[in-house]
């Protein structure tokens, strides 16, 4: 008896002695948990900041001011003012002449060529558009702003380090001296890069834009929604409202859960073998891309739709049935409309996932180099995430900036879609 009491006393002493250590370990454990969250969020912040700090520069583009002599002898020697003649003229020559006049001491062929590299090759088309819009320019000398080439743009933005030896950078010492001269004369200006949002892909970074990819994504998502939303909602209605509880509906349920976890690239293989191989649908088209995305988002939509159907109280259905409505009428006139906002929310979240999907689109050939804006769901197209993938592969410095900017646009769309889903849910959420 005394022995036990002694032991107990000894234990409690031991416990009291260890208490400080145990409390320390408690604090540690809690701290580590918090640190894990902070680290994960810190990484998120680091990623977004590093992409943002590269990407925001692509929304600006450097322009060069030149005195262009719209020489009638070059543009329209016969004086016909025929648009066909005007659009065939040698505008490149006008740009070169303006540059030569501005830097008369540049003599050698090589230097002249590198001087011509100041202005982007799109400059001639900018001049052509001006002349076509206003033929009275011909014969006058005007001050115009032309798009600077990628290398000059990068140098202006400080993305090319200028303190390394000449042969380790893309821009020569001479070009830097011209850049400085132009800059000191106020002939360089940074403006909003509207071309980034209004043109398709290009081999030249300063001319590349995301519009073609955006339109391709838009078409794909349209097809995806048109297919996945009705099918998803109707199968949810069947599974939740009508399906008998038996083996078959069990199998469907397990199947949907498994489908949600199938790697996205496998859906791409399905599209390649079935939609392109067996049904012969047009390769690279948003139609096929949209259908593949639809099959992928189907599980998400079904699960969300079932949850919102489940949230509608059975009394609603019972009341309709009691008033003589048929099963179908009760479900489609009363239950489904009440569940619709929840279903739409689920669909938007599914679309947001589909928006970022890249791998399945690679499989069905939506990786083409697309300059023209696609006009229908049957034309070859690419998608915004695929465009990001393609640009990320390019070695030119200018494309790194464009890639990051395209990512910012993509993330912007994702944020907007998720916000819409949240607002929709808040606004139409019904408490029964």
């Amino acid at each position: 008896m005394t022995d036990t009491a002694n032991r107990a006393y000894g234990n409690s002493e031991k416990i009291a002695a260890s208490l400080a250590a145990r409390h320390r370990s408690e604090k540690w454990f809690r701290g580590i948990g918090f640190a894990a969250i902070v680290a994960a969020l810190g990484f998120l912040a680091f990623m977004i900041l590093s992409i943002g700090s590269t990407g925001y520069k692509a929304f600006q583009q450097t322009y060069v001011q030149l005195e262009i002599n719209f020489d009638a002898d070059v543009i329209d020697p016969e004086g016909t003012r025929d648009p066909a003649v005007l659009s065939r003229a040698n505008y490149q020559g006008l740009v070169r002449k303006a540059l030569r006049d501005m830097f008369p001491d540049v003599k050698s062929r090589r230097d002249r060529r590198s001087l011509n590299d100041t202005v982007s090759s799109v400059g001639q088309f900018e001049l052509m558009d001006m002349v076509l819009a206003d033929p009275s320019l011909i014969g006058t000398t005007r001050t115009v702003w032309l798009t600077a080439s990628d290398d000059f743009d990068m140098a202006m933005k400080g993305s090319i380090p200028l303190d390394v030896p000449q042969d380790e950078r893309r821009i020569s010492d001479k070009q830097i001296s011209w850049l400085d001269k132009l800059n000191s004369e106020g002939r360089l200006e940074s403006r909003f890069n509207s071309r980034f949002f209004t043109s398709g892909d290009s081999r030249e970074p300063e001319q590349a834009g995301i519009l073609a990819a955006l339109v391709g994504t838009g078409f794909s998502l349209l097809v995806c929604f048109a297919f996945a939303f009705p099918v998803g909602v109707l199968s949810a209605v069947y599974l939740e409202m009508f399906a008998p509880r038996n083996r078959i509906s069990d199998i469907i349920e397990i199947n949907i859960n498994n489908l949600a976890a199938v790697p996205s690239i496998v859906f791409g293989l399905l599209g390649l073998a079935m939609l392109l191989g067996v049904f012969g649908m047009p390769r690279s088209s948003p139609l096929v891309g949209g259908m593949v995305l639809a099959l992928m988002t189907l599980p998400t939509i079904i699960v969300a739709a079932r949850a919102s159907l489940k949230a509608v109280p059975p009394s609603l259905r019972d009341a309709a049935l009691g008033l003589g409505a048929s099963e179908m009428q009760a479900v489609f006139h009363h239950v489904v409309p009440s569940a619709l906002p929840g279903m739409l929310t689920g669909a938007i979240i599914g679309m947001a996932q589909a928006l970022g999907e890249t791998a399945p689109l690679l499989m069905i050939g939506m990786v083409a180099f697309i300059v023209d804006i696609p006009g229908s769901v049957l034309e070859p197209a690419t998608a915004l995430p695929v465009q990001i993938f393609l640009w990320a592969d390019s070695t030119e410095r200018g494309f790194a900036e464009k890639t990051a900017a395209a990512i910012l646009v993509l993330l912007g769309f994702l944020v907007v879609m998720n916000l819409v889903a949240i607002i929709l849910r808040k606004k139409f959420e019904q408490r029964w």
Binding site: R30, A39, L44, L239, P385, I407
Partner: protein, 321 residues
Amino acid sequence: MNTLARASFIGTSRARRVQKNIERAAMAVLILCATVAILTTIGIVFSLLFESLRFFSQVPITDFLFGLNWSPQTAMRSDQVGASGSFGAVPLLAGTFLISAIAMTVAVPFGLLSAIYLSEYASRRARDILKPLLEILAGIPTVVYGFFAALVVAPMIRDAGSGVGLDISSESALAAGAVMGIMIIPFISSLSDDALAAVPDSLRQAGYGLGATQAETIRQVILPAALPGISGGILLAMSRAVGETMIVVMAAGLAANLTANPLAAVTTVTAQIVALLTGDQEFDSAKTLSAFALGLLLFLITLVFNVAALRIVRKYRQQYD
């Protein structure tokens, strides 16, 4: 019964018949929609199986499953030397699991500790803010992670390595795996969170009642009780890592090395499928068909993970309900 009433009665019975037919058709449409999901699975299995069988008629299945050498280049001309290409999938599987393992070493501790903090320690308000923030990580498209891994993380790891005299490939498994791990954190944390929340409060109270601190209760009572659910979540995350494509395509490269060194360049099943099927391809060539065999392999591996995970999670749920 007057004639008018009879006429209206006949009218409604006809209307009812029409209504019934419409409803029968509507039911058929509903059932059809519900089978789309099943048809998709069947379509996946058949298209993968069919193309794979054609591949295995050209390349023996044992060569594919046990071959140690992957170089799918086929000949331009039929008389070219060394033209047959070799299709041993072992290096690809090894690379896939190496990268997945790196991803899991990052994701499991971070995800699990976050889940523990969120479900056991955080106040309701902190939880409502932190949880959606963490979930943003899962909402960011994988192509963004790929870009980040290739352009920021890989050079960073390479420079850090050369700083201490290590020669690290700029397409190292480490960069791809680490970034993938961060992407997977929210999967682990939200599934573990569910598992922890499902542990009945009585267990927690019993722990405190015996004089254990909160950390001790979590480590010795709650975690063991939630272990099946957590391991189910880890399996699901693993399946996700194995099937992840864009990060490895952009950051891991295409060198089929059979190595366990995380600093070397490896390639994965998914990266090879993309490499085989983008760009010019002739149908029927062993090179193109091998992509489907890889796809089948990938599908089966992830299926095993998913089924096992769902089983574990389901079985565990029944325990406490």
